[in-house]
Symmetry: C2
């Protein structure tokens, strides 16, 4: 097993109403329990979550003829109409998704289909187009932007198209370092298959253990090693796509100038234009060894300027992250080490893998030191790596304790970073204050580019009333603040349904017209993920 991929049982389904491995769910640590009342005041225990057996669903809207046609496409074994199967495909893992999963009456797709080949995907799309059934492509089920909501749009019914049987390493070109992977291959399975050939992809978003290669592509994922390995976009050298009106096999050669790069239309299309069935990616030899170094800065602004210098200087770390003062304080508290480092300040983590790691570390350290950083040794950086996939487990425990917890993110230029951060924090704090809720907002930079960086916020709030309703209002005002302050509506979570109303701020009316024109051409009946990305338009 690849050392990066962490321990995970490939076949274990995710906890149906929370994150990850049900056996790893754990209550809050004593340190966090002590901290919460200080930050958020008195908390109200929520109603206990519903058991999966007690969830009530509407009866499936599929007719016997629909089911027979779908059986024709994927075989009997490829269709799941059980309540459990439907419930497990009813949502992603945003906090609103998890709050809705606590309720008794739930929405769910009318069935789940599990095509095993590209041709079976095409056959499902043919059936669905003909019979006017909406199709929600479903990979790891880790969307946090409502991309998996079982919306039928103008159609009679809605099915979830689970890609996870499209799994495996279909081809590996050792000379070119290219791997062709089935879209439903999960992160760990992909890395294990590649590791057996001495290679890795090196893409580690927090959803890594469950999310799929096709999902990474469809949602333009970015992983924790993006400073060294780039965004997932940049790893993709080709894709195969099934659409209701034809197939695509894009990415003929590296460095082509043969017209626009059409693969880019599907990276970020979030299942609205077609179903990605295969993804060709560049890989690299598994790096040997790893160098860690943690840093501390007097404040976030100083730290961010230091990260900018590193990003603009050329080959630096594989991982670089900077927490603001609020996140730094809580991280230290969580691991029981308040006061071990500077009591105030902003902590950063660097990790170096691959060629010339020692030289890159040395040059990076020089830049960080000159920009006001102070080395804090290896341990905190190594500890970050060990715990890096655990954040969502903590959220489950917080929700159980009545603490609202959610994340959101953007990116902007270096010159606009502090202004955008402030605007977003103000929107969050004001929004919660208006709902009489105390909140605690933390932020980090985890993806850097020569021209700018991401901002990733974690918010905790002690909401006394309806958490879903309060968050809906706060989130809307935060999204306004994001686009109003020059940020993008998403750096790596995507658009889904939750951000769809803000896409126009990103691409304008003419940009939306382009996307709708492509959708009309490929999916003239609008069966694919209605309402996601493009929102609800009269046209599509």
């Amino acid at each position: 097993m690849n050392s990066n991929s962490g321990e995970v049982d490939d076949d274990l389904p995710m906890r149906w109403n929370g994150w990850g491995d049900p056996h790893r769910a754990a209550p809050l640590s004593r340190a966090v329990r002590a901290l919460l009342p200080l930050l958020l005041g008195r908390l109200r225990r929520p109603e206990p979550a519903v058991d999966i057996e007690d969830v009530t669903l509407a009866a499936s809207a599929l007719t016997d003829e629909d089911l027979a046609a779908l059986v024709g496409a994927v075989g009997t074994a490829g269709i799941d109409t059980t309540d459990e199967g439907r419930i497990r495909h009813a949502r992603g893992r945003s906090t609103p998704d998890l709050l809705r999963a606590r309720q008794r009456a739930q929405e769910a797709p009318d069935a789940v289909v599990h095509p095993a080949t590209h041709d079976e995907v095409r056959a499902v799309l043919d059936v669905a187009s003909e019979r006017r059934i909406a199709v929600i492509p479903f990979g790891g089920g880790t969307s946090v932007v409502g991309a998996l909501h079982p919306e039928r749009g103008a159609h009679r019914a809605v099915i979830s198209l689970d890609t996870r049987r499209l799994s495996g390493l279909l081809r590996f070109d050792e000379v070119a370092g290219e791997a062709l992977l089935g879209a439903g291959t999960t992160g760990p399975v992909a890395e294990n298959l590649l590791a057996a050939r001495g290679h890795e992809l090196g893409h580690y978003p927090q959803s890594f253990r469950y999310a799929t290669i096709g999902g990474f592509a469809a949602a333009r994922s970015s992983g924790q090693n993006s400073a060294g390995n780039g965004r997932f976009d940049g790893m993709v050298t080709g894709i195969r796509v099934a659409t209701p009106t034809g197939d695509l096999d894009l990415g003929r050669a590296p460095g082509s100038a043969a017209g626009p790069d059409l693969a880019r239309l599907f990276l970020g299309s979030e299942g609205t234009l077609g179903v990605i069935t295969e993804v060709r990616v560049r890989t690299h030899p598994v790096p040997r060894g790893r160098i860690f170094e943690a840093w501390t800065f007097p404040d976030f602004v100083t730290g961010a300027d230091a990260l900018r210098r590193v990003a603009q200087h050329g080959p630096g770390p594989t991982v670089i992250r900077l927490s603001d003062e609020a996140e730094t304080a809580v991280s230290l508290a969580q691991v029981g080490r308040i006061g071990r480092l500077l009591a105030r300040g902003a902590g950063a983590v660097t990790v170096f893998e691959g060629g010339d790691a020692a030289g890159r570390r040395e040059r990076t350290a020089e830049i960080l030191r000159a920009a006001g950083g102070q080395s804090a040794g290896e341990e905190d950086a190594a500890e970050w790596l060990r715990g890096r996939f655990d954040g969502p487990y903590l959220r489950d425990a917080l929700l159980d304790a009545g603490v609202f917890c959610e994340t959101l993110e953007t990116a902007t230029t270096w010159s606009n970073l502090s202004a955008s951060k402030k605007a977003i924090e103000t929107a969050l704090k004001t929004g919660f204050e208006d709902a009489d809720a105390r909140s605690y907002v933390m932020c980090h930079v985890s993806h850097v580019y020569p021209t700018g960086a991401s901002l990733y916020f974690t918010v905790l709030a002690g909401i006394q009333g309806d958490q879903l309703a309060v968050w809906e209002r706060v989130k809307a005002s935060v999204n306004d603040a994001i686009v109003g302050s020059g940020g993008t509506i998403s750096h790596h979570h995507g658009v889904g349904r939750d951000h769809a109303p803000w896409l126009i701020d990103e691409v304008g009316d003419t940009g939306l017209r382009i996307l709708r024109a492509v959708k009309r051409e490929l999916d003239p009946r609008g069966i694919l993920n209605p309402g996601a990305l493009l929102g609800h338009s009269p046209e599509v």
Copy 2:
């Protein structure tokens, strides 16, 4: 002036029927004159080229009403209806273009418009849409794929839209290292403007001295420093586009995942979807110093494998190029140094600029040596840099001497590189043999990626009959060989009209349908560059 940008008078128009500065045109050197008969046999002097005053054009098809409407869009000073202006906008600089420029009767646009602002571009498109006039966007006029042919399609007339008044540095963000440039800014003007701020773009295609920033974007250009600075695609952080039905301002933030990256639809659109009016690019501080090292390999295959190792290893040279045996022999002959290096073998050039240049040189040298290379010192690499923009001048002299000379290019994976090279060489040689012409084919790799590389061919031929007719046949069979052997129809020249019939091999029927759907949406009357990229389709 930026040390990279070379000497060029910014305002000097290019030689109307050849390359570059008319004063730098020079006859063939004695060495080349001695070599040619050995390679190609007896050559036939061509008919003398026509003088520009003797060219005959059809009368402009524009009516007084058309002209009045265009004056309304760009003012009187913005319209050129002179024969010279029309002739200078009649073509690019492919060898067929130059051969056609030698003929007396020529095709040309009915007028040239020179909008000075984005809004004037929009106004031109409005007039042209309303009055059914085709519009050919024109930057530096350096297309070598027929993208500038004055084709009116189904329209009454055709105008050239010259972008060169849209020139200048419109905004510079020093912190982010981002520059907003007018699309008509030429390579040298852009570099000089940036150099005054201590920055550079570092994009040096052979067309650099004349081509424009908008042209680089529209044609997905790749420069000689691509190993270090990347393709032009990758430098673009935003674009502004005028289309007949709306404007676009794309590229809100670095690292966005807000739906598909729509800017990518315009990079490579070659003036068929809209007119790019502004381009935002990432820049970097002008590198200090430069390290040169030339290499020689026993043969091309060994050299190519060495380049692959460098490309897959991580940060290497800023420039890396490898000539095959045929090109190496001629290069040495040209500079009168046959025998100075190994008499046989494949020569390579590396240049290092920017951060850790010495370290990168050392690590690159280690890899090249281990892969069978032998260092050949600095001089040949420095000489390549001095002469790197001069190739097209040599072509003019060859054409004057009756030698047919043209270049073509592709890219493919490392694993397919040798097979594709052989297939293309065979198609070239067979094609010329079938026309009873002796030929000499040279090839180099000048752009490397982790998964593959470009192949750039220069072909010389002693064609006795109609050079245009012979080349048309040879070129078609070469294009078949390129796509048949797994290459892309273009690595950096683009598609234009010359490669349009092969675009379907690249993106398939569904891919063409997508491009046509976008064109219908943005340019419903099909006025923009009819016949380019998408070819002649009944639909658009």
